[in-house]
Every structure is written in C-alpha cells, then in structure tokens.
C-alpha cells in the first residue's frame, strides 16, 4: 500500500490559517530564496563568507528589510508576515535570517522606535532598500546575559559624546554602514547612532566559526569615538531600549527556527524515500517513521504556537514572556529535529550536499543568541512562580 506523501505542514493544514496576502508574501520570499539564495548557500557557508551587500540589496528590493515597520520606505506588513518571511529565509540558512533580523528588528527598529526624526530620515529609507547595512552593539566579551554590567561608556565632552569599549558577536558588524551602540552614561544606559566611518570605530571579523558561517560576525572596537550630541537615541533610556529591540528580533526567530527545521525534515523525508536499505526504502522502516512522526508533530506544534504569537502581536497583545515561550520551544525543537534528521541521512548528512548539519550547526548559535535557552526558561519560571531565579 502506498499513497502520495503529504508535506509535514500541509498535514497540519497550516495554509488555511493564512490570508491570501500572507501566503502571497510568504511564497514570494520562498521563491526568491529558492532561485536567488539557495543555489549559493553551501558555497557561502563553506567559504565562511556572505556577500552581505548583494544579498541585502536583493532582499531590500522585495521589501524584506524592516518590512513590518511603517513609513520611511518600509513595506509596513503585519508582524505575522514578517515571521513567515523569517521562516522562509531561515529555511535557506539561519545566517540569512540573522542578517534580516539584525537589520530590521535590531538596527532599524531601534532607530524607528527610539530615534529622532533626523535619525529616521537619514538611515531608514536606505536601510529598507538594502543600500545601507546596520548592526547592533549590545553584547560585550564579558557581558552577554547580563548586559547591565556593560563596560562600554559614553562620556559628554562639550558638545560631543566620546565612546569607548568593545562589543562582541555582532552580526553584520564588519559590513555595516551604521551601528546602534549601547553604552553606559552618567544617566544610565543609552543608545547611540554611530556611522561606521567615524574615526576610532573598527569592526574586525570573527573567524574560525563552526556555525552561522554564511553570516558576518564581528567585534566592534570603539576607541575615543567622538559623536555629535544628537547621536544619542532620544527615546531610549535604560536597558528597556535594547531589550525592546531584542523582543522584536526574537519574535522573528520563533518563526525562523521552524524554517530550518522544516527544511531538514523535508530533506530527510526525501532522502528516506529515495535511499534503499535491505532492498527497500529507508522511509518504510518503522524506526524511521517514528522519527518522522515525532519531528512532524513538533514542527506543526511549533508552527501553531508561532502563528498564535503572530496574531497576538498584530493585535498589540503580545507579552515579552510569550516570546520567551516561543523562542525557547521552537529553537530547542528545531535543533532536535535537525540532529534527528542527520541520523536519517547518516554519513550523507554531514556534507554540504544536504542542509541538515549546516542547519544543526547554525541552530547551535540560535539557541543561545537573543537570549539563551536558560534565560528564557528563567523568564518563564518567574512568570509561573512570581519568583526571580536569575541570580
């Protein structure tokens, strides 16, 4: 007995939960990814080099960059559609989704939400078009989960700000035209719009990565970087500023991670149907089907959660703790799916001919960036008990 295979998300009838417009936008990103990005991704990953400017311009033409922001050349889509776009990009590679997350949800969102009108006019239209690339400097070599301890400082000197310090693990850093940098001031943590050609600013690339190889990751070094007084983001005071941006980016990851998982599962199913073991398809063995069924369940459940959070966000009702639910669950499950798929592909799974180990390696980073799984567990634990267990 055999019947026509159904794709995992079709089994959950996910498309029926989307509007025509949401599907059209998702399909646009999917077909763009399939034709323009996927053919190159293994080479970019192998070389550890992403042609970020070219990729950003292409995505800018579609309207992906800062797509859920309104005005200033941004497309102004729903947040849920932004999630779907993240999913399609990450189905190609987490590095591509990272570029878009950092550009749209971190750098552009910070300027859009907290910047002056001059900041917005100066940067947002060019960033939406992909003509200018942004990065976001919060994490430091010794301060990841506890950004409040940051050592980077901004001191007033007459009409200027002078920034000193080091930021670490900064996506897009070496290719950025503008950096949104968070620094301690006499007035608490504040954000600064730093053109990367400002004297004293440098962004060395971090090499020898085993994950997110199709993504530019950098250190930001600020040595007496002198900025005009109006370089400070006027509307962001304290850690709430950068944390607000991170909530935006995490929302995209809730969807994005599932894209990587879907791609792995589709690759594993296709492989298992094609690969014969003991003279019959690997897909016909019960142990394989158990794996596939479990993975499809987690993918579908994660997708339903993501769509629920997307609808809440578009209704203006999304609580940051709910983003923690989504990020913790969906990244964890996506990583498990990628690893399990690798077992189905066996030795073939370790090559760049197939996407599974590339996705698994990428998801190792996604698991800890934008809030580690541990921190999200503690956010959820605090919500459930009312007791804070961070320290």
């Amino acid at each position: 007995m055999s019947s026509k295979p159904v794709s995992p998300l079709d089994l959950f009838a996910i498309d029926g939960l989307l509007s025509d417009e949401e599907r059209a936008m998702r399909d646009l990103v999917r077909s763009y990814g399939a034709r323009e990005l996927r053919p190159h991704i293994a080479d970019w990953f192998e070389a550890g080099d992403l042609p970020a400017r070219e990729v950003a311009r292409g995505l800018g033409r579609l309207g992906v960059l800062g797509m859920h922001l309104h005005g200033y050349g941004c497309a102004g889509t729903s947040a849920l559609t932004y999630g779907l776009a993240c999913m399609e990009l990450e189905a190609v590679d987490s590095g591509l989704r990272s570029l878009v997350s950092v550009q749209g949800s971190l750098a552009m969102f910070a300027i859009w939400r907290y910047g002056s009108e001059e900041h917005k006019q100066a940067w947002l239209p060019r960033m939406a078009a992909g003509e200018a690339i942004g990065c976001f400097g919060l994490t430091e070599p010794d301060f990841g989960s506890n950004p409040a301890g940051m050592r980077t400082t901004a001191k007033r000197d007459g009409d200027s700000w002078v920034l000193n310090g080091t930021k670490m693990w900064i996506t897009n850093g070496s290719v950025a035209d503008v950096a949104v940098v968070w620094a301690g001031t006499a007035d608490g943590i504040r954000g600064f719009v730093v053109p990367t050609d400002t004297p004293g600013f440098s962004a060395p690339v971090i090499k020898k990565k085993l994950s997110l190889r199709a993504s530019v990751t950098s250190e930001l070094v600020l040595q007496d970087v002198r900025l005009p007084a109006d370089a400070m983001l006027p509307q962001a005071a304290g850690l709430a500023g950068p944390l607000g941006c991170l909530d935006e980016a995490r929302f995209g990851i809730v969807f994005g991670a599932l894209g990587a998982a879907r791609d792995c599962l589709e690759a594993a199913i296709a492989y298992a149907l094609d690969r014969e073991v003991f003279d019959r398809p690997l897909a016909g063995f019960q142990l394989t089907q158990q794996k596939l069924a479990d993975m499809a369940l987690e993918l579908g459940k994660g997708m339903l959660l993501a769509l629920h959070l997307g609808r809440l966000k578009d209704a203006g009702q999304l609580d940051p703790r709910q983003v923690s639910l989504g990020k913790l669950n969906n990244v964890r499950e996506a990583l498990d799916i990628a690893r399990e798929c690798r077992t189905i592909l066996a030795a073939n799974g370790i090559t760049l001919e197939y996407p599974v180990l590339r996705h698994a390696n990428n998801l190792e980073s996604v698991l800890t960036y934008e809030g580690t799984s541990e921190i999200h567990s503690l956010v959820i634990g605090r919500a459930l008990t009312g007791l804070s267990a961070f320290v």
């Binding site: 025509d20 417009e21 059209a24 936008m25 646009l28 077909s31 763009y32 033409r61 579609l62 309207g63 992906v64 797509m67 497309a75 102004g76 889509t77 559609t81």
Partner: protein, 259 residues
C-alpha cells in the same frame, strides 16, 4: 500608451499534469494554479515599455473564478488594472474559441498594444497570439526577443531557427514574447499590498459580447477522443565498457541525433 497583457493561469509546471478521465480536459484541482511563466516575461516587457514611454498596463485573463490570482500576481508586479473574463460557458474552449473570446473581451477596452507570452506551459500550442491578431485585424509580431517602440511604430526581433528577423509594424499590434526578452522582476511586499486596491473588472460572456455557442468544449474544432498515461520508462541500453565505451557512447548519442 495603453498595453493589454493577456495572461493564463496554468497548473504548476513542477507538478505532474494529468487529464480528467471523464472530460479529457486538464485536471486543475490536482496541482497548484500558477501564472504561466512565459506570461511573466510579457508583463515585464509591458512594464518596461510603460516605464520608458509612459502609459498603463492592463492585465487580462480568461479562466475559472480562481484565475483572479494570476491577475493579482501581475498587479503585484506593477500592472495597473485587470480584467477577468470568467464564465462557465467558456470551460474547455480550444485555441480558436479562446482567441475569439479574448478578442471580444479586448473590445471592452482601448489599447495601443497587446502582449502575450509565446506559449502556455499546459497546452503549449503557441496558437493564440497569432489567432488573436487575425481576429483583431492587427499586425502580429510573434516570438519577440526584443521590442522597441518609436512613436506609433513598433520593431521587434522575431526569434527564428537561424537567428532573428527584424519585423516592423504600426501600432496597434499584437506581440508575443519569448523568455530571452528580459528578466521578469519579483513582486515586492509593497506591490502585493497595492495590488489589493487595484481595480479588476469582471466580465462574463454577455458582458464581453461573446456568443456562447461559439465557445466552450462543445464548440471546440477538435475533440480529444482518448488519452493514455505515458508508459513507465523502459530499462534503457546498458553499455559494457570493453575499452570501446567512449565509441559506443558516441554511437548511441549519434543514433539519437544528440550529436
């Protein structure tokens, strides 16, 4: 300048196509309907011409209710408005009837130029553009790999086996384009959102002035009397290399006229 681009919704080119056993017409339910790929080149060329010369692009399709998705896709690429010709009486129309129906629908609007893709990926007849030009009594410039407009004069490179002919005519005219002509743009998110607000006129046979007796499967000039599944692939030829494998391969390819 007003350009009408005629497009067709077809079964997904990636999917395996089949005929319905009872009517022997294309099974449209079993695969996703998409905009015929060649039509994207027609839309792109129309957009480029209006970007260079001013004017607007109207996209026209004939098909079942869901065919408005093909119109929306064209609108999201930048076309300005649409016409959807849809009526149960049109189902099963052959190329002759289709060209008649489209010609009648074109009578409801003004135009300087009609552009079509040179073939649809489902029927693959390439007949409609020429038939349509004949119906309209307009010059036909088919299989164009390049289009230039100068005032009321249009010049195209018409793709041939030996290269191309340069063909010239006066507007209005009917042009069909080949894939070589351009690189179709992707829609954008803004384009998709704007497409929702663009006007799409709905026509049935009465509104288009179509005589229902001349269209549909019953009026088709030819009848599909039978269809059979393509037989499964046969085992092929095995060449054992006994030092002359290269020669045998070359002989095989030569016999198949590949080399």
């Amino acid at each position: 300048m007003k350009i009408v681009v005629c497009v067709k919704q077809v079964p997904d080119t990636e999917a395996e196509k089949r005929l319905l056993p009872d009517t022997l017409t294309v099974d449209r339910e079993s695969s996703n309907p998409v905009l015929n790929e060649m039509d994207e080149f027609a839309i792109e060329e129309a957009l480029k011409l209006t970007e260079a010369h001013g004017g607007e692009v109207v996209v026209l399709t004939m098909g079942p209710d869901g065919a408005d998705a093909a119109v929306r896709k064209a609108l999201s690429m930048g076309a300005h408005s649409g016409i959807l010709l849809s009526d149960p009486a049109l189902a099963g129309s052959d190329a002759v009837a289709t060209s008649y129906a489209i010609a009648q629908a074109l009578g409801t609007t003004e135009y300087d130029l009609v552009i079509l893709g040179s073939e649809a990926s489902d029927a693959r007849t390439s007949l409609v553009p020429a038939m349509l030009a004949e119906r309209l009594g307009l010059p036909q410039l088919t299989f164009a790999s390049k289009v230039e407009i100068d005032g009321t004069s249009i010049t195209v490179n018409r793709l041939t086996d030996y290269g191309h002919d340069v063909v010239q005519a006066q507007l209005p005219a009917v042009v069909s384009v080949v894939e070589k002509i351009n690189e179709p743009r992707y829609p954008s998110f803004k384009g998709i959102m704007a497409a929702k607000k663009k006007p799409v006129a709905a026509l049935d046979v009465a509104a288009a002035g179509i005589d229902a007796a001349l269209v549909g499967q019953a009026a088709a000039a030819t009848t599909v009397v039978d269809a059979a599944q393509r037989p499964p692939r046969s085992a092929g030829v095995k060449v054992t290399d006994e030092g002359d494998g290269g020669v045998k391969l070359a002989e095989f390819l030569s016999a198949q006229k590949f080399i």
